[in-house]
Symmetry: C2
Subunit: 205 residues, 2 copies
Amino acid sequence: MTRQLRAVRTRQALVTAAASEFDRSGYAGAALNRVCRAAGITMGALTFHFATKGELASAVQMQGLAITRAALADLPAGRVPALHRAIDVTLELARLLEEEPAVRSAARLSRERPDEDLAWSMSWIAALQDLFGQAYRDGQLHAAVRPEDLATLSRFLILGAEDRARAEGSRSGSEPREPGAVEEVRQMWGIIQRGICGPSRGEPA
Amino acid sequence: MTRQLRAVRTRQALVTAAASEFDRSGYAGAALNRVCRAAGITMGALTFHFATKGELASAVQMQGLAITRAALADLPAGRVPALHRAIDVTLELARLLEEEPAVRSAARLSRERPDEDLAWSMSWIAALQDLFGQAYRDGQLHAAVRPEDLATLSRFLILGAEDRARAEGSRSGSEPREPGAVEEVRQMWGIIQRGICGPSRGEPA
């Protein structure tokens, strides 16, 4: 029992350290000895738990998927209109990308080692498509806007959030002058909802 | 002279092969022996021209920057309003990302080995900021839309175009069912200009 508990803790410490390493350096650039050092665990213990770099990466991706699924399941549905629930999903994804190295890692590794079963987007794309479809049926969207276009736009915003979150991580904590990923995505939705060409500053609104 | 010409051609063949390799595998994942095989050049010749992987990557990044600067310089200015010229810049960048491995490589390597002097965005971000600023002063933008927000939105669209273009490259050429990066960015701008919430399908426009 105690030994099992210790094994679980060791495994978790390795996945946590690996999440930061894969997020920063990518799959090919990740160094297992750095993971061991960060986790305070020997290379022997690492290879006992994860025979290959691929197994360790898959464990990180599964954790990123699990964290994302759990966070989205906890979002309040209630009476909120579908369009706003869809936007809340993208804001929650941006928050996870900012705060959870395992989620940033899952997003990056999904591109660097494609595998349908571990693709990070599988944890959110269907929910977004459903909500945008509902928003369309509810008449929340301009007639000319197709739900699938908003799913594409969301994918772009989430890529931008990942890029911004990773850039923040690599900057020294002492210089957080720019808006974070969540704030940036929120601003973009404000623009996208209103449209950029509305009443121009010249004319009366 | 002939020897010089041969050297120039060898160098160019190496940079061309390296562009595809860095685009597909990233900096850490790129294998110099694959570059030699693709270029039909010996490892000895490669190390004669590029002493390190970093030198080869920098040469690819400089080519990506040069291609991008030249393409944007060729865009017609004429009487086109600033907002539409800014959108044309993003569409041209999406086209370059689709068609030029050196440009996709420059975009990817700019993230994987940050270096102010070689950052791919340096070849277009200032032009975009100027054009959006001009569009604002010309009253082309909604009063509540800040030019810097449109520069951020453009950055997101260009990241999405890069991701789409790389995914297309990795797919077998026989299955080009989805719209390409340029078409996708064009569709997104259509939505962003109009806004998504306009007159809902229920009410009369």
